[in-house]
Amino acid sequence: MTATVTRPAPPRRPRAKRRHVSRQTREMWLLMLPALVPVLLFSVGPLLYGIGLAFTDARNTRVHETSFVGLENFTDLLADGDFWASFRIGAIWAVSVTALQFLAALGLAVLLNQNLRFRGVARVLAVVPWAMPPVVIGLMWKLVYHPDAGILNDLLGTDVNWLADFSLALPAIIVVGVWTGMPQTTVVLLAGLQNVPKELYEAGEMDGAGRWRRFWNITLPQLRPVIVAITSLDFVWNINQFGLVYVLTQGGPGGQTRLPMLFAYEEAFRYRFAGYASMLGLAMAIVVLAVLGLYLWRQMRENR
């Protein structure tokens, strides 16, 4: 994704060194060991453990006999109205934030790719959200949306408690999501735009293609791999979003912004249903993988 400059891999050592292979392997493992231990202990291990927990009735308390319950958590999940509500909100959030992020970022990238004045200002501003801690972004927008001291009501001449309004809270956090995720998307798309060969545009111009036609028939098809990659990543990041929304609304009002991850967090750490929450996480992982797989498969097929 990034365009880091890496040199070609060093030439293979001569085959004569074969005899030392076992020593080399030992050396390699020795060098890797300090990194492997924490990754296995705190990352791979917990992931497998978590998948296992999804099939138990584990409680997040010290005194509890955990037993295997098979797919009971899954059937409970399917029957849980709160889960479906949360799932629906998560789907709306992830799809709309990803789509809006993409459209806004594409527009900005196209503008930044032209020789306009104030482009520098916009470039710096476009990276700032990236540099801010997510918690500060959340708090900053809370100040913007604040019903009394916030600027938004004053600008629009309204008197709305944005983040506590049943129908407005979700759109309000979607705006924040778009603001937060635009920088990465813009930077990646801009890099993609700059790699489109100039000759294609010249040829297009010679053939009498107008600005729109050139954009539609040259820019977009050329950008396609970049677009597929960044929208996939954005989708995964958005569906797994937690911190930003936790700071903004904690899932309120009345669960209107309770994304699946917030729902799972509450189940696990407020109500202490560890097994159930793990199944929720597992189900979400499967949904994400399925959506991603379908999307990438379709894109690749059309690409042929």
Binding site: P10, A35, L108, L139, L190, A285
Partner: protein, 272 residues
């Protein structure tokens, strides 16, 4: 004038991106009396730095900032120390591990954190590391590691293996050649990785929220979220000031890598 629509669009983007930032700044510079006005003002009538000194006066915030600093320092140094040898191995020995490491970076992006954090919490509880800073450091190290490894092994690759071979001819052992030949050449990469790991830890919220439940050990992001109580607007000024200060480390980081970012990702505009 043909470009008018484009300029209009660019201005709209600038306004959208900048106005929350300006509002944060404006709030941080206001007096409590001005905060309480029914008509909010963009430009503070009597700009004051009192909010910043107030934030420093808050015991909670200063303590939390110190704890965040300790966690971020330990996390970044440990991350670099354990990823240096591993990145060397990844860059110099061709093996499956390379692909496995990249695979792990991707997998850790797709899997929802809840699936990891519940068992992680249980493991840390068994080890008596819940509500402790070492527990949080261990978690931050683990989750910064894949990307740090990836960053560093790129830098190791850029060091020509011939240099090491020359050192070996001069009779240096492998360890010796790593320490006195490769390591000095890696300095810029190490600094970049250190900064990256520091910022990741300083900004991190989710794991801290689960692992640190006792207010006495909370890090800065957690304390900032808890800062606004039910008292209404009175504490918004110091909160805005503290938020701004919490952003400073990231801003420094981005100012430093901005050159690289420009040349790596945003470049090309000059090329044409």
């Amino acid at each position: 004038m043909r470009r008018l629509p484009q300029y209009a669009a660019l201005v709209a983007y600038i306004v959208f991106l900048a106005f929350p930032l300006l509002w944060l700044l404006s709030t941080a510079l206001k007096t409590p009396q001005e905060m309480a006005l029914t008509e909010p003002t963009w430009i503070p009538r009597e700009p004051t730095l009192a909010n910043f000194t107030d934030a420093f006066g808050e015991q909670d915030l200063v303590g939390a900032a110190l704890r965040s600093l300790i966690v971020a320092l330990f996390s970044s140094v440990i991350t670099v120390l354990i990823s240096l040898p591993a990145s060397y191995a990844m860059a110099r020995y061709r093996s499956l591990l390379n692909r496995v490491a990249l695979g792990w970076v991707l997998v850790s992006q797709v899997f929802p954190f809840i699936l990891i954090i519940i068992p992680l919490f249980m493991i840390l509880r068994e080890m008596d590391l819940v509500n402790t800073l070492p527990g949080l450091v261990a978690v931050h190290v683990t989750f910064t590691l894949p990307f740090a490894l990836w960053m560093l092994q790129g830098y190791v690759r850029a060091v020509p293996p011939e240099l090491e071979e020359a050192a070996a001819v001069d009779g240096a052992s492998r360890l010796r050649s790593i320490v006195s030949v490769v390591a000095p050449l890696l300095a810029p990469g190490v600094v970049a990785t250190l900064l990256f790991a520091f910022i990741s830890s300083w900004n991190e919220f989710m794991f801290a929220l689960v692992i640190l439940q006792n207010p006495d050990v909370m890090t800065l992001p957690l304390t900032l979220v808890r800062f606004t109580g039910p008292e209404g607007v009175a504490r918004l000024g110091p909160l805005a000031a503290a938020s701004l200060m919490a952003t400073i480390p990231s801003l420094i980081f981005f100012a430093i890598i901005q050159r690289r970012l420009k040349s790596g990702l945003m470049a090309g505009a000059v090329k044409g």
